[in-house]
């Protein structure tokens, strides 16, 4: 599997560290309550198919949102997390 870092280009996925589902970008307010935080930290849609997840590109330090398919491992798009969040 190869991933495209928006900064460095097409790279081997060995260069990346996986964080998890991109829901990690939608951090609830500190006082949002137990259910919101449980949902954010633990509960997952865990899709069998298209997903968005967060990878860290170790050499350049960029957080990257990767759109890929969990069944075929096909990567359909990558973007910097800072831009994807907007």
């Amino acid at each position: 599997m190869r991933l495209t870092c928006p900064v460095c280009g097409d790279r081997d996925h060995r260069e990346f560290t996986y964080k998890g589902d991109a829901v990690m970008l939608d951090r609830p307010a500190p006082d949002a309550g137990t259910d919101a935080w449980d949902s954010y930290l633990h509960l997952r849609d865990n899709p069998c198919g298209d997903t968005r997840d967060l990878w860290y590109h170790d050499p350049c330090g960029a957080w990257v949102v990767v759109e890929r398919n969990t069944v075929t491992h096909a990567v359909t798009g990558t973007a910097l997390a800072s831009e994807a969040k907007r």
């Binding site: 060995r14 964080k19 589902d21 137990t34 930290l41 633990h42 491992h73």
Partner: protein, 417 residues
């Protein structure tokens, strides 16, 4: 039909013509008392123990493919009880005790072989950790022996003891650990459940879970609607998809775990051996193939196959620990889909929907848990109370933060286990 040595002899003399199909192939009825979704090891053992321990037989096991076609047929077949934390320790201890009488109980040869498990250590700090783990195992009533270097050499003369980077300091021997024939475990439980009247329904995918006023009423399937008073989701590897049918999200991410098998060789690896400084563990099947595996690929996936970096790591580790393996040819590799929970421990619990149960989150340890998981889930379904050895496998432990079982001491969040 009861299996025996005499039966084998008799059939051998008469051309093997007397064997009967091992289970029926019934059409689904319109209603059952209990529906188990998932005809894998855990689902089949749950049905078996519901029938055997609780006398409940109006049960259907619904399987979307064929019985035992999921992770129970795709693992590295290791059976052990060497856990450390309260919760896991008593559960796997109970499960191992069930394994030890399983063949007599099922009248089925699951080829359970207590050949001994040796976890190697390669530093003083690691030795301390294994001493601590061994003491926890002994306190639980299981067996553990600390082997020094000479002790390991007696068992495993083929290791590279003086490896310049990772010399072998010793190992923790768990004599009751070993392996079993994975498919036979599913078949044995299927046969036992079928004999007691459980309907095993294959090619029957659940497409909906009917819930009214907070109570489960039954399921929709590709073979029609089936009503039931109680429904258990026992579909590790696909737990998220099935739970979504009941409107639930689970604390689970699915990851790949790869395994490998070589061509058949003469007996060389007599034990189950795990490397302490890389992700590599190995045993030899009765057919002769070296069966070995490593760690997760570490990204969510349902692909049933992995990528090259973990393959390379496993091969590197194998060559570091036992250079003799370089002569063996890898025949095939595959990936299992693991239900990974944030703390790396499983879930056997009720849900917020009355009559709906989940048994999931087995991470990379589901095979050895097959008897214990079925036994404990059957107890929960039949009595409404948690079975003591599995009482800590609560679904809400992540939300409340109470009762987290982080065996590896890494932290309770996704992608750490």
């Amino acid at each position: 039909m009861r299996y025996s040595g005499l039966q084998v002899l008799k059939e051998g003399l008469f051309g093997q013509k007397g064997w009967k199909p091992v289970w029926r192939d019934p059409a689904p009825k319109s209603e059952y008392d209990i529906i188990i979704i998932g005809g894998g090891g855990h689902g089949l053992s749950t049905a078996y123990y519901l029938a055997k321990e609780h006398g409940l037989t109006n049960i259907a096991v619904l399987e979307k493919g064929y019985l035992g076609g999921g992770n129970v047929g795709r693992n590295t077949t290791i059976v052990r009880a060497n856990y450390f934390l309260p919760g896991n320790s008593e559960f796997y201890s109970h499960s191992l005790k069930l394994w030890e009488t399983l063949e007599q109980d099922l009248n089925y040869n699951v080829m359970h072989s207590q050949r001994g498990l040796i976890n190697l250590f390669h530093s003083d700090g690691q030795r301390d950790a294994f001493v601590r783990r061994g003491n926890a195992m002994i306190n639980q009533g299981d067996d553990a022996e600390l082997l020094d270097r000479a002790g390991v050499r007696k068992h495993l003369p083929y290791l590279d003891f003086d490896n310049i980077r990772f010399p072998v300091y010793g190992g923790l021997l768990h004599r009751r650990g070993g392996t079993a024939r994975h498919d036979a475990v599913a078949w044995g439980y299927a046969r036992g459940a079928d004999q007691r009247g459980v309907d095993l329904i294959q090619n029957c995918e659940v497409t909906g879970i009917d819930i009214e006023n907070g109570k489960v009423r039954g399921v929709q399937t590709t073979r029609g609607a089936i009503r039931a008073k109680k429904v258990a989701i026992v579909t590790a590897g696909r737990s998220g998809q099935v739970a979504a049918l009941a409107g639930m999200r689970l604390p689970i991410e699915s990851h790949i775990l790869q395994a490998f098998v070589t061509e058949g060789l003469k007996p060389v690896i007599d034990h189950v051996v795990s490397f302490g400084m890389g992700h590599f563990y190995i045993s030899q099947s009765d057919k002769g193939g070296l069966v070995f595996g490593g760690d997760l690929d570490f990204y969510s996936s349902y692909a049933s196959r992995g990528n090259l970096p973990m393959k390379e790591h496993v091969m590197d580790a194998a060559m570091t620990l036992m250079p003799i393996i370089g002569k063996a040819k890898v025949l095939r590799s595959w990936g299992g889909i693991m239900d990974m929970t944030p703390d790396g421990s499983p879930i056997i619990d009720k849900t917020d929907t009355e009559g709906l149960f989940v048994d999931c989150g087995w991470c990379y340890g589901g095979f050895k848990a097959v008897p214990g998981s079925g036994f404990s889930l059957a107890h929960l379904i039949a009595t409404g109370n948690h079975h003591a050895p599995a009482a800590r496998y609560r679904l809400d432990r992540f939300r409340t933060g109470y009762g987290i079982m982080d065996e590896e001491g890494k932290g309770s969040q996704h992608n750490l286990h």
